[in-house]
C-alpha cells in the first residue's frame, strides 16, 4: 500500500509565518495605500465634491490639460524646482558625505551635527527659514549686504521665491541622502584605492575611477528618490507663502491640496494625483533605462 504524502499543516508552512509576521504592514498597506489609490483612480473619472458625484470619464484630465493655466504653472514650478534641487542636493550630499568620511578627530560629532537639521520637523524649519529670508533682518540678506549686494525680497518678490525654496532645500543635504552616500563610501574596499595608488593614480583619478563608479548604485537610488521627493514638495510652500506671490511658489502638490481640500474638487484633485503618478513613473522608467549606461553593480561585467 502506497502511503499518501501527508499534507503539511498550515502552521508548519514557512510562508504562513512569513505572511503572519508581515500582516500588520500588509493590512495597513492594503487599507491605507492600495485602497485610496484605487478610490482616487475611480474618483478621477467623476466630478465629485463630497456631496454629489457624476461620472464624467476623462473630462477632468482633458480640462486640466487644456483649460487650467494653474495646472501648467504648478507643473512648471515643480519641474523647475526638481531640476535645480535634485542635482544640487545629490552633489551637496555627496560632498558632505565625502567630508564626513575623512578619518579626522571628532568625525562622529560632525556626522551628528550635519544630520541634526533633518530631525527638525518640516513646519518648524519652514518657520526658521522665514526668518532667514526676512528681507530686512534676515541672515541671508545680511550676508549679501556684507559683500555689497542689495537686499532681496526672497518671499515677497515672485522673481526670487522659487530660488528661495531651492536654497531652503539645501537644508536637507546632511540628511538621509548623505547617510546613504556615507554608507556607500564605507562599503568601497580600501584595496581598490591601494591598487590605484600603486599604479600612480592621484586623488581626483581615484575619485573619478573608483569612488564614482562604486557609488553609482547609491547615486541612482538617491536620484530616483530625490526626483520623487522634489515633485512632492508641499509643506514649506504651504507654510511660508501659501503658493504666492502671484502663484510663484504654487507647487503641484499644493495645487492638488487646494483643489481637493479647499475647493473640494475631489475628482480634479484625484486626476492631478494620477497625472503626477504617471509623470514620476515615466521619469523613473527613463532613469532605469539610462542607468544601464552609468550604474555599475559589484561583480557586473560591462
Amino acid at each position: 500500500m502506497v502511503k499518501k504524502p501527508s499534507k503539511k499543516r498550515l502552521i508548519d508552512r514557512q510562508e504562513f509565518w512569513g505572511f503572519l509576521f508581515i500582516c500588520p504592514w500588509l493590512i495597513g498597506f492594503l487599507i491605507f495605500t492600495v485602497g485610496p489609490m484605487i478610490s482616487s483612480l475611480v474618483l478621477s473619472l467623476y466630478k465629485y465634491d463630497l456631496a454629489n458625484a457624476k461620472f464624467v470619464g476623462f473630462e477632468n484630465y482633458r480640462r486640466l490639460c487644456t483649460e487650467d493655466p494653474l495646472f501648467w504653472k504648478s507643473l512648471k514650478n515643480t519641474a523647475l524646482y526638481a531640476l535645480l534641487t535634485v542635482p544640487l542636493g545629490i552633489f551637496g550630499s555627496l560632498l558632505v558625505a565625502l567630508l564626513l568620511n575623512q578619518p579626522v578627530k571628532g568625525v562622529r560629532l560632525f556626522r551628528t551635527l550635519f544630520y541634526l537639521p533633518s530631525m527638525v520637523p518640516a513646519v518648524a524649519s519652514a518657520l526658521v527659514w522665514q526668518w532667514v529670508f526676512n528681507a530686512d533682518n534676515g541672515i541671508l540678506n545680511q550676508a549679501l549686504a556684507f559683500i555689497g549686494l542689495p537686499n532681496i525680497e526672497w518671499l515677497q518678490n515672485e522673481k526670487f521665491t522659487l530660488y528661495a525654496f531651492v536654497i531652503m532645500s539645501l537644508w536637507g543635504i546632511g540628511g538621509q541622502r548623505m547617510i546613504i552616500f556615507l554608507a556607500g563610501l564605507q562599503g568601497i574596499p580600501e584595496s581598490y584605492y591601494e591598487a590605484a595608488r600603486l599604479d600612480g593614480a592621484g586623488t581626483l583619478a581615484q575619485f573619478r575611477h573608483i569612488t564614482l563608479p562604486c557609488l553609482s548604485p547609491v547615486m541612482f537610488f538617491n536620484l530616483v528618490l530625490g526626483l520623487v521627493g522634489a515633485f512632492q514638495v508641499f509643506t514649506s510652500a504651504y507654510i511660508m507663502t501659501s503658493g504666492g506671490p502671484n502663484n510663484a511658489s504654487l507647487f503641484y502638490s499644493l495645487y492638488i491640496f487646494r483643489n481637493g481640500f479647499e475647493y473640494f474638487k475631489l475628482g480634479k484633485a484625484s486626476a492631478m494625483a494620477w497625472i503626477l503618478f504617471a509623470i514620476l513613473l515615466g521619469f523613473t522608467l527613463i532613469q532605469f533605462a539610462l542607468s544601464k549606461k552609468w550604474v555599475h553593480y559589484e561583480g557586473e561585467a560591462k
Partner: protein, 428 residues
C-alpha cells in the same frame, strides 16, 4: 473557562465603551468647534453649564484644531457622522449649505416661543438665512474697527482719532495725515514705527467700500473690481505703502515686525474679537478703538460671524436646537461678549446693556462696536468664495508687493480671473 470569562468581560467593556447613553433617557449630543485656548476653555465651560442645567441632555465637546477644521467638518458631514451642533466659519457656510449638509431651522425657530427674530441684530440673522430660510444661529459676530495707540498719538502731538471722529472730520485724508506723522525712521534710515499697516484680506475691504467699490456686482455674477470706484479704493490701499510710505511693505512687515501689540504700529484695522488679545498683550501703552474713517462714499466696515448649524442627518435636532439656543441666549452672550469681550453680541438687548458699555478696561469707546455692526456690510461670501478670492488675491499680490503700482492694471487682471471662476460651471 477563564478564556470564556475573559471574552465576556471584554465584550461587556467594549459595549460600555461604544454606548453613547450616559443614563436612562438621557440624550447625548456632540458639539464641535475650534478656536484659541481661551475660546476653547470658555466653550468647555458652556458645555458643562448646559449639562448641569439640562439633566435630560448631555453635550460632549469636540475640540478640533483650526487648521484641520474645515476638512474634518466636511468629511464628517459627507459621511453622516458630524456632531449634532457645529460651529462653522461664515466663509464656508454658503458652500456647505449649498451641498445640503445643514438642517433648515426655520420650523424649529417658529415652534420655539422664546426665539424671536426681532431680538437680534438683523445682520446676524441675514448671515444665517438662505432664500428666507434659517440654517444657523450666529455666534462670534463682529466687524472691523480701528485699534489705535493713544500713547503714540499723544507723543506725536496728533489729534486723537476719536476726537476727530467726534468732530465729524474722521476721513481718509486725516487718517493718512496722522499715519504719516506717526511713521518714524532711525538714524540709519530704517523704519522703526509705522502709522498704519495694510491688513490681510479681507480686513482691508472697508477701504474698498469707503471709496464706493466692491468685489462683485449685486447679483454676484461678475467682478466689480474694474469699476472706477473699486480701482480708486485699491489705489488708495496701495498708496498707503508706496506713495505715503506710512504702511510697511510686505518685506518690512514679514515675521510680524510691526504688530499693534508691539507698540510699533499707530493704527490697525482689525476685528472686534482682537480685544481680549490686546487686553492681555498690551502693557506699555494706552489704546482704544475708533470707527473706520469715512471715504469719499462711505465709512462702512465689514461684518461677519460664525454659525452654529445642525447637520441635516442629526438624529436629535430638538436637543441640538436647545443647545444652540443656550449658546445664543442672553445670559451666555453676557458671559462671552460682555465679560470676556470675545466678539460682539447678536442680541440687541445684550449690546444695549449697561455692562456692555462699560469701558473701565480698554477699549473705552464701546459704541464704536455697536455702530460698526449697525452700519456694517456683509462680504459677498457665496459657495465659490474660496475659489474666486484665491484667484483674485494672487493677482492683487502684484499691487501689494509693489511690482505694479497702477491699481487699474491689477484690477483688470483680477477681474479677468474672477469672471473666469464665476462663469465656469462649479466643481471643475
Amino acid at each position: 473557562m477563564n478564556v470564556h470569562r475573559l471574552c465576556i468581560a471584554l465584550i461587556t467593556l467594549f459595549a460600555c465603551g461604544c454606548s453613547t447613553e450616559l443614563g436612562a433617557g438621557k440624550i447625548n449630543i456632540r458639539y464641535m468647534a475650534w478656536g484659541n485656548p481661551e475660546q476653547m476653555a470658555l466653550e468647555e465651560q458652556l458645555c458643562e453649564k448646559f449639562n448641569l442645567e439640562n439633566p435630560d441632555i448631555h453635550v460632549k465637546f469636540l475640540k478640533v484644531p483650526g487648521t484641520a477644521y474645515l476638512n474634518k467638518s466636511i468629511v464628517m458631514l459627507a459621511s453622516d457622522t458630524a456632531a449634532d451642533v457645529m460651529r462653522v466659519d461664515h466663509y464656508n457656510f454658503a458652500n456647505l449649505q449649498k451641498k445640503g449638509f445643514f438642517l433648515d431651522l426655520t420650523d424649529l425657530t417658529k415652534a420655539d416661543p422664546d426665539w424671536n427674530e426681532s431680538d437680534f441684530f438683523p445682520q446676524t440673522i441675514d448671515e444665517c438665512k438662505v432664500n428666507g430660510h434659517v440654517y444657523g444661529l450666529n455666534v462670534l459676530f463682529g466687524g472691523t474697527v480701528i485699534y489705535y495707540n493713544k500713547t503714540m498719538m499723544a507723543r506725536a502731538g496728533v489729534e486723537d482719532p476719536y476726537v476727530s471722529w467726534s468732530k465729524g472730520r474722521w476721513n481718509y485724508d486725516r487718517f493718512v495725515d496722522i499715519a504719516t506723522k506717526l511713521t518714524k525712521k532711525d538714524g540709519n534710515g530704517k523704519y522703526i514705527q509705522f502709522g498704519t499697516a495694510i491688513p490681510v484680506f479681507p480686513s482691508w475691504t472697508p477701504m474698498l467700500y469707503g471709496f464706493g467699490g466692491d468685489f462683485l456686482n449685486s447679483s454676484h455674477t461678475k467682478s466689480a473690481l474694474s469699476d472706477p470706484a473699486a480701482v480708486a479704493g485699491l489705489q488708495f490701499i496701495s498708496d498707503l505703502r508706496y506713495k505715503y510710505a506710512c504702511a510697511p511693505t510686505l518685506a518690512q512687515s514679514s515675521n510680524s515686525a510691526f504688530t499693534f501689540e508691539s507698540g510699533k504700529l499707530g493704527m490697525s484695522f482689525d476685528w472686534m474679537g482682537m480685544t481680549p488679545r490686546y487686553r492681555k498683550a498690551v502693557k506699555d501703552f494706552e489704546w482704544d478703538v475708533v470707527p473706520i474713517p469715512t471715504g469719499p462714499v462711505s465709512g462702512q466696515t465689514i461684518v461677519k460671524g460664525n454659525q452654529l448649524v445642525i447637520p441635516s442627518h442629526c438624529k436629535n435636532p430638538k436637543a441640538a436646537w436647545r443647545f444652540a439656543r443656550f449658546i445664543t441666549s442672553a445670559k451666555i452672550e453676557q458671559l462671552l461678549y460682555v465679560k470676556n469681550r470675545r466678539c460682539f453680541p447678536t442680541r440687541i438687548e445684550v449690546a444695549s446693556s449697561k455692562e456692555f458699555s462699560d469701558g473701565t478696561l480698554p477699549p473705552s469707546q464701546i459704541h464704536t462696536f455697536i455702530g460698526a455692526v449697525q452700519g456694517g456690510k456683509q462680504l459677498p461670501i457665496d459657495n465659490r468664495w474660496a475659489e474666486w478670492t484665491t484667484a483674485m488675491n494672487n493677482e492683487l499680490d502684484l499691487l501689494w508687493n509693489g511690482r505694479e503700482k497702477n491699481a487699474k492694471v491689477v484690477a483688470d487682471r483680477a477681474t479677468k480671473v474672477i469672471d473666469k471662476v464665476l462663469t465656469e460651471e462649479p466643481g471643475w
